[in-house]
Amino acid sequence: MMNKLLSAEFTRLFKSRLFKVCMFLSGALGALFIIVRWMDVRANVTAYANLPREYSKADDMIFFGPMFVVFVMAIFTGLFVGTEYSDGTIRNKLIVGHKRSSIYISKLVVCIVANIIIHAICIFVPWGLGSLLLGVDTGAGVLLAKVFMLFVIVITMTALLLLISMLIQSKSIGSVSCLSFMLIILLIAGYINSRLDAPEYYGGYSLVDENGDFIEMEQEKNPSYLSGKKRDIYEFVYDVLPSGQMFTVSYGKPKNIMMVYDIIILIGATTAGVIVFKKKNLK
């Protein structure tokens, strides 16, 4: 039964204008970052010559796009699923005897594939373009490991977005909710990131007094520096949140434990979604 639904959903996906627009936006965004840097490097050759080599390379631009493309993903998921409610076509599946769990899982599979494609475009376009225009120093193996982790995060985010979209029967409210959810988890991750990145000590700098003597300032403890249990909790939340994981993939080295958290979130969100969807009164 599921094969039939998957066949129908994939056909709809590949015919969807929304999906094509999302793919274009994703590719355009990825290319834009590279082109902007390339133009900047060309316009400021001397300045870049004095900067470390990585500043004129494409490496850090490759994973910059997904931070923005998550919003495209949220809108896509909200609208793609919401259309089934607004057009009433979800009823056609139930009337002819498809199980609600099959409908939910087929939607999850299709949205995961769609969102992975959207993100893949956002990664591989700047990777390819960056290699041509600026050069990429990081090895393909390292980059592919990051891409793999990014796809795992995308799967987890899709499960959460689908949960929201399937539980809200209004296309517009569902899409706005998906977008708001994405914004909120990114803001939370951004806040935690800034707190975790805060230095333990301020100061340590030198001043020159009126006699021309150097004065070494004593280092001062940062009162908002997170330490002990509190730091552990922040780090844990940061690692669990898919948006925090995305920051880690974009700017650092992903941790293996993140994948475990993703699997737990994926299973939890999908189970909750199926249970609630089974009991939902549809119109």
Partner: protein
């Protein structure tokens, strides 16, 4: 009688509101079952339940003998098609693409019937026009075409003539009759346009406040609504003799009452009865339209 759908004390409550309150109905195989009730009486709720869009709070129903709680219900639903409230169509697809999509959902590999279905509902010339540019009537017909994908045995139509122009209503009626007569499809149809329903239905179910107040066949309905004169006499035995002699079509209601369906000369009948010492106490005109029958049955209260 074999039933396509049977409901048994079906209840559906929404936050304290009883949309269905122990509804029991029987849709015979091969029937066009007209489901009649006011707005808010529970028609659409029942249709949502049998289409699997919602679960009953209490009670049960069987579809081709399979209980709604059993695993076999999914296979039985495969024999169903339905249009609930608004037609369920992808607005950004053409009519043909919509049907192909439904065939994929059903897992039917052959799409040979698509052009036939489009012709059947009069949408064969819509070409690449997307459904969002269709008129309401065209959407309604496309919704029915989707419901007909996979050759269902049981078709559920919720207010199918809503928003249709007079020509569209006639076409819809002809389509439903054709499907019923030529393809033996059982149809459950809810409608507010009772006059239109009376031209189609072979069976009727009247629903009020979530309960089925009356269920009857079209012939029973016809008998109840047939124009006649009700005669009240002191004894129906001589009346029978006289009417048999005069070849008058009649039915005996009680020892003192009889309904006469033929055109009669009251004077002639009165004189003939007088000879038999039979006294006419009263003569009243009887007979109703479906509309009047329905109003008498459920009362003419506010339409929500």
């Amino acid at each position: 009688m074999e039933y396509c759908l049977e409901t048994n004390g079906l209840c559906k409550y929404y936050k304290g509101f009883k949309a269905l309150d122990g509804l029991s109905m029987h849709v015979p195989k091969g029937a066009i079952y007209g489901f009649i009730g006011k707005n808010g009486a529970g028609k659409t709720t029942l249709i949502r339940l049998i289409c699997g869009l919602q679960e009953p709070t209490r009670g049960s129903y069987t579809l081709y003998g399979e209980k709604n709680t059993g695993t076999g219900i999914y296979a039985m639903r495969r024999r169903m098609g339905g249009v609930v409230e608004t037609p369920s169509i992808y607005l950004d697809m053409t009519a043909e693409e919509n049907l192909m999509q439904q065939y994929r959902i059903l897992g039917v590999p052959s799409t040979d019937e698509i052009s036939e279905l489009l012709k059947l509902v009069g949408l064969e010339n819509t070409g690449k026009k997307r459904a969002k540019n269709f008129s309401l009537g065209m959407r309604q017909r496309l919704g029915i075409a989707i419901a007909l994908c996979g050759s269902p045995d049981f078709l559920v139509l919720d207010e199918p003539v809503n928003g249709l122009d007079p020509q569209g209503i006639v076409e819809m009626r002809e389509l439903i009759l054709k499907l019923n007569r030529e393809k033996q499809i059982t149809v459950l149809i809810s409608s507010h346009i009772l006059d239109e329903l009376s031209k189609l239905a072979t069976h009727y179910g009247f629903i009020d406040k979530g309960r089925l107040v009356r269920e009857m066949s079209a012939s029973e309905m016809e008998a109840e609504c047939r124009k006649c004169k009700r005669l009240t006499v002191n004894d129906t035995k001589p009346l029978c003799r006289v009417m048999d002699e005069m070849k008058i079509e009649y039915s005996i209601v009680s020892d003192t009452e009889a309904d006469i369906y033929s055109q009669i000369s009251v004077t002639e009948l009165t004189m003939a009865l007088a000879k038999e010492n039979c006294e006419i106490l009263s003569i009243t005109e009887r007979g109703d339209s479906l509309e009047n029958y329905y109003i008498n049955l459920v009362g003419g209260g506010d339409d929500e």
